[in-house]
């Protein structure tokens, strides 16, 4: 018993720093801080080159090639608005998953709507739907003549949104791994930190999209 208690204490010591904070949580915030600078540089690059493409297709304006071929504005705002809505909802699902794990067994957290499994899976599905929208968007752009090598808009757009999409894909894998852990052994309130770390990453991916949606898609 004493050995078990000692092992538990040792285990605790591995996760807490002299600040009294969980070192995993400090690490994820430091990581998110570094990600801010990564996306800051990608967004800066997009904005610096915005409106400097010599050839089309262009994001908000129609463009006629020297050969007389007409390219319509390439951004599809209704589709992207739908994907933005899905990502925003996924953030709600994520906080509900975290609340379900933190309050497991308490009153008001019974049934399907109090199930962490349900909300984790819902968040992962919403992330996958967002990725499907992005795959559709990228494919339609390529069919309409815009690739990463076509012009400055194509290069900066695919780089920025591609990096973001990769982050969403990593988030979906992370969520699915938590979902399978929950299925296998069940996530208890003591495991809330595991979900909290994933939630912080997921919300960060969401806030990056909030900025991208405005700067890339809406502001002309």
């Amino acid at each position: 018993m004493a050995t078990a208690a000692g092992a538990h204490e040792a285990h605790e010591h591995t996760h807490y720093t002299t600040t009294g904070l969980d070192n995993r949580k400090i690490a994820i915030w430091a990581f998110i801080g570094s990600e801010c600078m990564l996306f800051g540089s990608l967004i800066s690059t997009y904005l610096v080159y915005k409106g400097r493409s010599v050839v089309g297709p262009l994001p908000h304006e129609a463009w006629t090639s020297p050969a007389g071929e007409v390219f319509k504005p390439i951004l599809n705002i209704p589709v992207t608005s739908a994907s933005t809505f899905v990502l925003l909802m996924s953030s709600l699902f994520m906080v509900l998953a975290l609340a379900a794990v933190e309050n497991k067994g308490k009153a008001g957290y019974e049934g399907l709507l109090g199930s962490s499994k349900f909300w984790l899976l819902a968040t992962a599905i919403a992330g996958a739907i967002f990725l499907a929208f992005q795959a559709y968007e990228f494919t339609s752009f390529v069919h309409e003549g815009l690739t990463i090598r076509t012009n400055l808009f194509g290069t900066t757009f695919f780089t920025l949104t591609g990096f973001h999409g990769t982050h969403v894909a990593v988030g979906v894998l992370w969520l699915m791994s938590l979902f399978f852990i929950d299925l296998k052994r069940g996530l208890e309130p003591r495991d809330a930190i595991l979900v909290d770390l994933c939630a912080l990453y997921w919300h960060f991916v969401d806030v990056v999209w909030i900025v991208i949606f405005t700067l890339v898609y809406l502001i002309q």
Binding site: E12, Y16, T19, G20, L21, D22, K25, I26, W29, A30, I32, G33, S34, C36, M37, F39, G40, S41, I43, S44, T45, L47, V48, K50, G51, I77, S81, T84, F85, L88, M89, S91, L92, M94, V95, L96, A99, E102, G108, A199, L200, H203, F204, D206, V207, I210, V211, F213, T214, L215, L218, I219, Q220
Partner: protein, 106 residues
């Protein structure tokens, strides 16, 4: 000790389900207004368009960070770890726009 740790990790209680749903509703409504504004040509042509969209985006950003990421309720160190790099990223963006973009003073 464990109480101190718990206190350090969660200086205040996290929002309730009800608050989370209100936050989601506001995010949804702001997004609708943003997209709606995009389809009003007179507003798009006006000088208020870009500041209005940037303001709405900033509000959504702040709401998600404060309520969903719990930065409003968590330890101040997390705030510093996030806001510090945000300031660097913002300053880099502004510097790049003045150095290489179409932004000019005067």
């Amino acid at each position: 000790m464990s109480i101190d740790r718990a206190h350090a990790d969660h200086t205040h209680e996290h929002p309730t389900w009800k608050q989370y749903k209100w936050v989601a509703l506001w995010l949804f409504l702001i997004t609708i207004v943003e997209v709606w504004a995009y389809y009003i040509p007179a507003f798009v042509a006006s000088p208020a368009f870009k500041p209005a969209l940037l303001l709405m985006s900033a509000i959504k950003f702040a709401v998600v960070v404060m309520y969903y990421m719990h930065l409003k309720f968590d330890h101040p160190l997390f705030r510093k770890l996030f806001i510090g790099p945000m300031i660097i990223a913002g300053a880099t963006l502004i510097a790049f726009l003045f150095l290489f973009g179409n932004v000019r003073i005067g």
